[in-house]
């Protein structure tokens, strides 16, 4: 099931990216007085763009089956895998930390809102998370950079390492990295709290209205135990699915974020790839993303079955 799905995905992405106007060669030579028709033809031949589309797709696919993602069409002509490899660690670490923080903060917030439903606290939380959701991140990022970086001088403004940090001891280097990541992670987390916490709030409210909770309350079980032991377990079930969905998002970075903070991550790489019509690079990233999506869905299904006996025993 996974293989035909993957094939379909690659075929569609290949078609779509070739349908986009402009070719890599053109992006490199456009409006350049030095480039003649001959040099364009030469570049097209070099990249194999002179061949018919289905041949190009076939070649790409057969290379892929040998796990060869090909070489980038950018002037550096480097293997796509190398380009992805050097960018993926920072993106994954950033996303993992942000994801842990997001779940770690959004779940308690959601529970709190559900338990204190329709009180002032609930409304305050709603306002807080929606402010985070609605404020344009680039604007907030710039304000924070100005305050903490320029005015107060507490935190570095952009990048992920200080200049010359390669000569410091391991601890200083790690601390330096951490300092660089404080702003991006804080802002990313703030912006993403809304979705998950609202979701948690609504499932929690739903569970809290179930009969067995009423029964528990009637038995005189303490409210804390009801919420954290009886209700939370069931309310968390749908969250597993969400966690599975976040797996592919781990390798996708946000372009705006990475651009503002000068973080050399996947978002920028992908964006530049699309803008330059760097087909192998775009296809490479999409294939990896597609694989992760499929794996994420599979894992989510498995975990769900593991967590929910109703699914495990075939009763839905």
């Amino acid at each position: 099931m996974l293989v035909p799905l993957l094939l379909g995905i690659t075929l569609i992405t290949f078609t779509v990216i070739h349908l986009a106007p402009g070719e890599p060669v053109e992006m490199q030579t456009a409006m350049s007085p030095k480039a003649s028709a001959a040099s364009r033809a030469r570049l097209r031949e070099f990249y194999g763009l002179d061949k018919p589309l289905h041949v190009q797709y076939g070649m790409w696919l057969s290379n892929l089956s040998r796990l060869d993602f090909g070489r980038s069409f950018a002037p550096d002509n480097r293997p796509v895998l190398d380009k992805i490899k050097e960018r993926i660690p920072i993106t994954i670490s950033l996303n993992v930390i942000a994801l842990i923080l997001e779940f770690g903060l959004a779940l308690p917030i959601g529970i709190m809102a559900a338990v204190h439903r329709d009180t002032l606290l609930d409304r305050a939380i709603s306002v807080f998370v929606f402010v985070g959701f609605a404020v344009p991140t680039f604007w907030l990022a710039l304000l924070c950079m100005y305050l903490f970086g320029v005015k107060l001088g507490w935190l570095p403004i952009s990048g992920i390492h200080s200049l010359g940090s390669d000569q410091w001891s391991f601890w200083w280097r790690s601390l330096d990295l951490a300092r660089h990541l404080v702003l991006p992670i804080a802002i990313a987390t703030f912006g993403s709290l809304a979705g998950l916490s609202r979701y948690m709030r609504s499932t929690m409210i739903e569970v809290l209205s179930q009969d067995y909770i009423t029964t528990a309350r009637a038995k005189g079980v303490r409210e804390r135990v009801i919420i954290y032991r009886h209700a939370l377990k069931n309310a968390l079930l749908p969250v597993i699915t969400l966690l599975g969905f976040s797996l592919p998002a781990l390798i996708g970075g946000s372009v705006i974020f990475e651009t503002i903070f000068s973080i050399p991550g996947m978002g920028q790489l992908f964006y530049q790839g699309v803008m330059a019509r760097d087909y192998p690079l775009v296809m490479g990233i999409l294939v990896i993303g597609a694989c992760l999506t499929l794996i994420g869905n599979l894992l989510a299904d498995l975990c769900y079955a593991l967590a929910d006996p109703r699914i495990r025993h075939g009763r839905g």
């Binding site: 950079m145 200049l163 010359g164």
Partner: protein, 529 residues
């Protein structure tokens, strides 16, 4: 809740580490006192450090410090010897002989000789090399290296831009000959003859160069050059203020409004000189509407270029009358045929061309309204504002203008290349050599060629060919002066403005000498007190 506690602890730890003894504070303090590290910021990352394989400005920023050409432009934009000590052009203009500098060494210790020059020429014209720079070298009929320090090229006919084309960075033959240049490690680890030696490239973050102690002009005084990649202009500006970069190019708003405080001016020096670029409104001359020169002249008369410069560049630019940069040798300062801003004349010209005012305030001829669309590319706010000001001005004389903004690739492929546009608002960079063949000659109107507005003028063609066919500067200047008159008379473009380059450098850097070529020309002489 436990997580929140851990988080607080972590933040505390990070803040505690902001104490005075943290290494990052030391780095900054040291730099403030006179570390001779120079940090500059760039929006883009270089793509390939073998110069013939890259065409982006970031790559050439680095290549320019790592490599040398045979010739280069000096601070007054005159050609001078670089790796060539001197050169002669034969009396008939067909043969150029370069006498190469002796004792120049590659960064790996090898001697630089004519073999390197010959290799660079051969690999550039080799059909297997995917380069966009072969064109100028294809005019060469033969190239020889009679001895280790002489290099001679012969042309089929005299070709004036040839000399400047030898400013192309020379590649090390001993590292590349017989190898596939597209897979060479030199593309990410270049070896040149230039003032700086390549040190490291941290992808997506920075490149670092170190001064070449054996450089033939003397070692550069700034010991280390760091090129940071900061894709966002606002971020770069904050890095500048926080001391994270030493130099950047300002936008007009930043120059005029955000960098005028005493505090800023004490810490930074601002510079201002015309950039090598111009912005223009180009008309599709295949359309009957624009084939009438009176209509084109009327549009130019109706556009207030000074107002555009004030509105778009906050005054940081100059009016353009033609395709040359003010102050260069080919530039004619008084172009008599230029119509200038004169709305009354615009109306008279349009009347003469047969247009009459219609009911809705738009001019008409044979029932057809005088209406067209200005297209420009996405992501260039200045061009969009420019188009809006033009739209407003043309409305007052009765011309209806619509504006359409499009992504670069589809703009080129679907509209420019197919000739499907009315008018475009775009810009050209101005090359040092004034030859205009590629953009203005009538043979360059094919698909993907640069005379996409389809301007055909035999007189102009003759002057272009004459200008590139002689090495006599006086004759060339004469040709280009005439060309500027013709373009001003015909207005195939309305030349709008030449913007100013607005670099800013921290004041701890001394020795900067602004000149017609900008400020980077004596970079190796910059120093820190």
């Amino acid at each position: 809740m436990i997580l929140a506690r851990i988080l607080c602890l972590l933040l505390l730890l990070i803040c505690a580490a902001c104490g005075q003894d943290a290494p990052w504070n030391k780095v900054q303090a040291q730099d403030g006192k006179g570390g001779s590290q120079f940090v500059t910021g760039s929006i883009g990352e270089p793509s390939n450090l073998i110069p013939i394989l890259a065409s982006d400005s970031s790559s050439s920023d680095i290549s320019g410090l790592v490599y040398n050409g045979l010739v280069r432009y000096d601070k007054n934009l005159k050609l001078e010897g670089d790796l060539a000590e001197s050169w002669e052009v034969s009396a008939n203009g067909l043969e150029i002989t370069f006498h190469l500098r002796r004792g120049v060494k590659w960064h790996d210790g090898h001697d630089f000789t004519s073999r390197d020059v010959l290799y660079t020429y051969r690999v550039t014209v080799d059909p297997k090399t995917p380069t966009a720079y072969a064109e100028d070298f294809k005019q060469v009929q033969s190239a020889q290296a009679p001895d280790l320090y002489t290099f001679r090229v012969t042309y089929a006919k005299p070709f004036a831009p040839a000399l400047a084309s030898w400013g192309m960075p020379i590649l090390p033959a001993h590292l590349l000959e017989g190898k596939d240049i597209t897979k060479s490690p030199l593309s990410r680890n270049p070896v040149g003859t230039g003032p700086y030696i390549f040190k490291e490239w941290v992808p997506g973050q920075r490149l670092a160069l170190e001064a070449n102690p054996n450089y033939w002009e003397g070692a550069p005084r700034l010991a280390r050059y760091v090129y940071r990649i900061i894709p966002d202009n606002s971020t770069m500006y904050m890095e500048l203020k926080a001391g994270g970069v030493d130099m950047m190019g300002l936008s007009p708003v930043q120059y005029q409004r955000q960098t005028t405080t005493k505090e800023f001016l004490a810490r930074f020096n601002k510079y201002r000189y015309p950039a090598s670029a111009y912005t223009y409104l180009g008309y599709n001359l295949r359309l009957p509407m624009f084939q009438d020169v009176r209509v084109r002249r009327a549009i130019t008369c109706a556009i207030n270029k000074e107002e555009i410069i004030q509105g778009v560049l906050l005054g940081m630019g100059q009016i353009a009358h033609g395709p040359y940069k003010p102050g260069t040798w080919a530039y004619k300062s008084k172009v008599e045929s230029d119509p200038g801003y004169d709305p009354a004349r615009a109306q008279a010209l349009l009347r003469e061309a047969g247009y009459r005012m219609g009911g809705n305030g738009i001019l008409e001829k044979n029932g057809k309204p005088l209406s067209f669309t200005i297209m420009t590319n996405q992501g260039n706010d200045q061009r969009l504002k420019c188009a809006q000001i033009i739209q407003m001005r043309l409305k007052t004389v009765g011309i209806d203008v619509k504006i359409r903004v499009m992504e670069w690739a589809s703009f080129l492929t679907n509209f420019i290349d197919k000739g499907k546009f009315d008018a475009v608002l775009m810009g050209w960079t101005i090359s040092q050599d004034p030859d205009l063949y590629d953009v203005w000659h009538s043979s360059k109107t094919g698909p993907k060629e640069l005379n996409f507005i389809h301007y055909l003028n035999p007189e102009l063609d003759r002057l272009i060919v004459e200008g590139r066919g002689t090495f006599d500067m006086a004759k060339r200047r004469d040709c280009y002066y005439q060309i500027q008159e013709i373009l001003a008379k015909d207005q195939p473009y309305t030349f709008l403005y030449v913007p100013d380059a607005l670099p800013v450098v921290t004041s701890r850097i001394k020795g900067i000498e602004p000149a017609p070529a900008g400020i980077m020309h004596n970079f190796i002489k910059w120093y820190v007190e």
